[in-house]
Point group: none
Chain length 199, copies 4
């Protein structure tokens, strides 16, 4: 009843074990989905006892939540907006933004697919996703820099969120159902659409 506190690993060996569990989980859940992957299976794939599994993660859901957070961090981390060229055109900026999102969807795409599916089912996961999305949307506003003043749309914040939603939907579709074909063409079309919309 009184739950044993989940272990917070501080030593390297432990970290490795926790990471092994995560890697195993990503692998298996990407292949077979969250519901069809059992904790025992994950532990075995990670070459760790089921007891160890439960010493690192309160339950299966907690593991999943951490995985989602990890993915988002991986997707967001490598951005360095400060290093953008000063004199990019609007088109180039939007194009770059879309490419960036495209790139993010290239990281563990199968797992992201599973994520987007599960996010619909639980507000808990949904909330994390919102956090990330807001960040990405804000990033777009920043990227626009001085061009912001030329935008005809009044509520830029909302607009950027809608733009992100749209872009992700189309990219998602392109990645999974068109198997990643015509990335470039899609990026171009989206760019045109967004530029037309904003300016």
């Amino acid at each position: 009843m009184a739950p044993v506190e989940t272990r917070v690993p501080k030593q390297k060996r432990s970290m490795e074990k926790k990471q092994r569990i995560k890697d195993a989980a990503v692998k298996l859940m990407s292949e077979k989905g969250y519901h069809s992957t059992s904790s025992n299976e994950i532990a075995k794939e990670a070459d760790v006892s089921i007891g160890t599994f439960y010493s690192y993660f309160k339950d299966k859901k907690a593991l999943y939540t951490e995985l989602v957070a990890d993915i988002y961090n991986m997707v967001l981390e490598p951005v360095d907006l400060n290093s953008l060229p000063e004199d990019m055109s609007v088109e180039d900026t939007v194009y770059m933004y879309i490419s960036y999102i495209f790139k993010g969807h290239g990281i563990m795409p199968e797992f992201q697919r599973e994520m987007s599916s599960l996010s619909e089912q639980s507000d808990e996961f949904r909330d994390i996703e919102m956090l990330y999305k807001k960040q990405i949307a804000e990033m777009f506003v920043e990227m626009l820099g001085d061009y912001r003043d030329m935008i005809k749309v009044s509520d830029l914040k909302t607009a950027s969120y809608i733009i992100l939603t749209m872009v992700e939907a189309v990219i998602h579709d392109t990645m999974f159902h068109n198997k990643g074909k015509n990335k470039k063409a899609v990026t171009r079309e989206l760019t045109a659409m967004i530029v037309n919309y904003l300016f």
Copy 2:
């Protein structure tokens, strides 16, 4: 091995029973998702024995498939494109189209949420959804009528599919995460974006 065939109800009372099962399923799956809703639970909610459940539906998946079909029929049915005014502007046409999709998402929205979630997980369900989407996308092309000649986009078929994907994503987002606020504003924005894109 050779199971007794699924019952095809012919009398009113039976129809009611089958419908009761469906209603119960929609209710529970909307609340807790497909995977967390058991057949026994559905039967109990429908006030029907589990045996009756399985006499109407081969298995849980078959029930789900019927539900999806029902939803699609409800969404698609009430359209009558022939009765559109002859002299609508492009903006009005697009606006109407988006409104139509918005309306569709208002039917059992929570269940549709679950549907879109499951579609990601199984090509089987995905296929049904595609069918419906293609119809809706084609409908848009038809609605454009004579304006089609003025469109600058070359591949209108693909464009209409992308537009639908986008529109649905945004509407979906608006419905569930903004709880349906500013439908009008969103519709207006989307209209502008699409018109700008196409013409």
Copy 3:
């Protein structure tokens, strides 16, 4: 609780129905075994309602019991020992006896296979089988006629029962596991063995 008396059909139409049920049962049980054949399936195959099924047979087991009795009657019925030639040799007599048993095993052999399997599981069925076996064994003694005096075995009754057991085992094996090959050779060998044993 108070069981409705099982119907004893007196009219032709009813007889037909009951027979249809039996035929269907034999067919299905021969193919798939007793345990894998459901009463609903039998009723459907017989083109009769499940209610009708239960008006003719108290339960599934009662149907089976009747089938066993029927088979035994079919196997035993067509014998007419009185018409045997007077001057048969011992060998010919034994050969004829074995052939007779072989023939019996040719009647609905798959169902008999199922029967022999189930007989092991229920004393009820077992008893019926004993009855039949005793009759067959006695028949052999009768067939031997005047040769009886020349037999060296003391307890002919027991001997004849053992002989039957043996013969059936070998025939059974020949029918099902050797797919009925070398019936003649097997009959010949058995004849030799028995003649050697008795005389």
Copy 4:
């Protein structure tokens, strides 16, 4: 889908548990037959959780298969043909062989009854039994030793199989339906019969 492997017990306590399950299964299946004994029932009788049951056995059939193997091992193990007296008569050899089979049928006779019943129903089970039978039949040929040259039967291999079939049928009958009475008399009769047949 990818089930956690069946547990291979290494410690004594576990071995005991697995054995308890087997013992319970033998007991119940002997009493009520394979089909009428449920896995939950076996687990309960063994005082073990159903989960434990399925950690030791893939499914009910796998348990059964192990039981059959165990029985065969018990029946075959204690044979040491090399220690036979050199100068046994043919009669004594055959008598000994039959006694050996008789003894084998004394081990868990009720379960063996169920086994022979199931063998008729599934080729899968039948195959295992064949393996064992072939061994026993071959053993007989070996036992005959130098007497083999004096045998008048041409195909000794087949003959030994038929003899085994016969002997088992009679023994089986003696054990269950005559409740083991006159073992000696039956053995004597069978011996005579076989010797007469072979030589």
